[in-house]
C-alpha cells in the first residue's frame, strides 16, 4: 500500500520546482491550487484541449437539429402563411443559429463534466480546505514505504510550509 504525502506551499515557483524534481524521480504528482494556474504549470504537465471536440460535435448536432426541426416540420404541416414559401430561408437560418448555440453550450458543459469527472459525490477523495484558501498543494503518490521520509525531506527542502502524510483515499 502506498502512503501519499502532501506538501503545502506558499509560493508557486517553489512548488513547481519540487513537482518537476519529484516527477522526474517517477512519482505521481497532483497539483491543488486556489486559482487557475496556466503557463506556470507547463514544466509539469501540458494538456491538450479536448473540450473543443465536444463543442464542435454539439454545434453540428444543434445545426442538424435546427434544420430538421424547422424544415422537417414545415413539410409535415403544410399551412401556407403570408405568401411565404413553405421553406423560408431567413427564419430557418435564425432558428438554426439559436439551436446550434444551445446544443453547443449543453455539449460543452457535458464535455466538461465527462472530462473533469464532475459532479462527484461518491467515495471520499483526498481534499483539504487549505487549497481553496491560500496554499498550493502538491500530492505525491506511488511512494515506496522506505522512500516516504526522503520525499518529505525533499518537500521541506523546496520550501513547503507543511508536509503531511494523508490518509489513504
Amino acid at each position: 500500500m502506498n502512503q501519499p504525502v502532501l506538501g503545502l506551499f506558499k509560493y508557486v515557483d517553489s512548488m513547481v520546482e519540487a513537482a518537476v524534481m519529484l516527477k522526474d524521480t517517477g512519482y505521481t504528482v497532483t497539483v491543488f491550487s486556489p486559482i487557475p494556474l496556466g503557463a506556470e504549470l507547463d514544466p509539469i504537465i501540458v494538456r491538450k484541449n479536448y473540450i473543443k471536440y465536444f463543442s464542435l460535435i454539439g454545434g453540428i448536432i444543434g445545426l442538424l437539429f435546427g434544420i430538421i426541426l424547422t424544415l422537417g416540420t414545415a413539410a409535415m404541416y403544410v399551412l401556407p402563411r403570408g405568401g411565404l414559401p413553405l421553406w423560408p430561408a431567413t427564419p430557418t437560418l435564425l432558428l438554426t443559429y439559436e439551436s446550434t448555440i444551445l446544443v453547443g453550450v449543453i455539449f460543452t458543459l457535458m464535455g466538461f463534466f465527462v472530462i473533469a469527472r464532475l459532479p462527484y459525490y461518491g467515495k471520499k477523495r483526498f481534499y483539504t480546505p487549505k487549497v481553496a484558501l491560500d496554499s498550493f498543494g502538491l500530492l505525491v503518490e506511488d511512494i515506496q514505504e522506505d522512500k516516504i521520509e526522503e520525499v518529505e525531506k525533499l518537500l521541506h527542502d523546496y520550501g513547503a510550509n507543511e508536509v503531511n502524510r494523508v490518509e489513504q483515499p
Binding site: V78, P80, R81, G83, P85, W87
Partner: protein, 262 residues
Amino acid sequence: MSGILTKLKDKLQSYRVPGYRTKFEYKWTMVVDLDRCNGCEACVVACYAENNLPVVGKRDCDISRRFSWIRIERYIEGEYPDVKVKFIPIMCQHCDAAPCELGCPVYATYHNQDGLNVQVYNRCVGTFTCATYCTYDVRRFNWFTYKWDSPLEQQLNPDVTVREMGVMEKCTFCIQRIRVAKDTAKDEGRKVTDGDVQTACMQSCPTDAITFGDLNDPNSKVSKLAKSPRRYRLLEELNTDPSVIYLKRVMDEKKGHGSSHG
C-alpha cells in the same frame, strides 16, 4: 444532376403561395362599390347579428374597443358649405400575402385552401402579434368575457363559435355560410355557383354596394366588377395583395357637392 436540381426547384416553387394559390378551387372575393355606399351601417348591424359579436358598451367604445368586424370609415373634406363626405366600409381584407399570418407563433391564423385568411379561435394564445402587424386595423380582441343579457343569448348564431376571453378574431367572410353553400353543392355534385353565398353584410346592404363571389369563375358578378376601371385595393402599395376590391367613388369635382353621378 441538373435534372434533379430543376425537379427540386420546381417542387419548392410549387409550395410558394402564389404558385399554388392558382390551384385553389375558389378565390373568394368581395367587391365594395363606394359609389353606392351611403354609410347607413346596416352591414355593421348585420355582422353583429350573424357572427355573435358582443356589444361592449360605452366605456369600452370610448377607448376604441368597438367590436364591429366591419366598420364604416368616414372621411370629411372641405369647410362647411363645400363638404364632401366619403364612406369606406373596411373589413378584413383577406390578404394573400398577409402580414398577420407571419406573426402568429401557433398557426392560429394562416391561409386556407380557398384563399381565405383564417383565424382559429381555439388555437389563439393572444400574443397580439397579428393585430399589431395588421395594416388595416381590422382585428378585434376579446378583452373580457362578454355576456349576453337574457334573452339576447337566444339570438346567438349556433353555427358560429362564441369566442372566449383572450382570443383574437376578425371578419371571416361569413365562413359558416360558405360552408353551408359548399355542403349543398357537394350533395348536388356541383361546384358552388355565383349567388350561392351571401355574406351578412352583402345581404343587408340596401344599395347593393357589396358583392361577394368567386374570382376564379370568369362569369361571376365579382369577376365582371373587378374589371371596372374604378377598381382599386386598399393600401395596395404595401403588397399585401388583398382580396377585397373597392370601386372608387366618382365625385363631381367642379361643383364640390357630395352628389354622385355613377
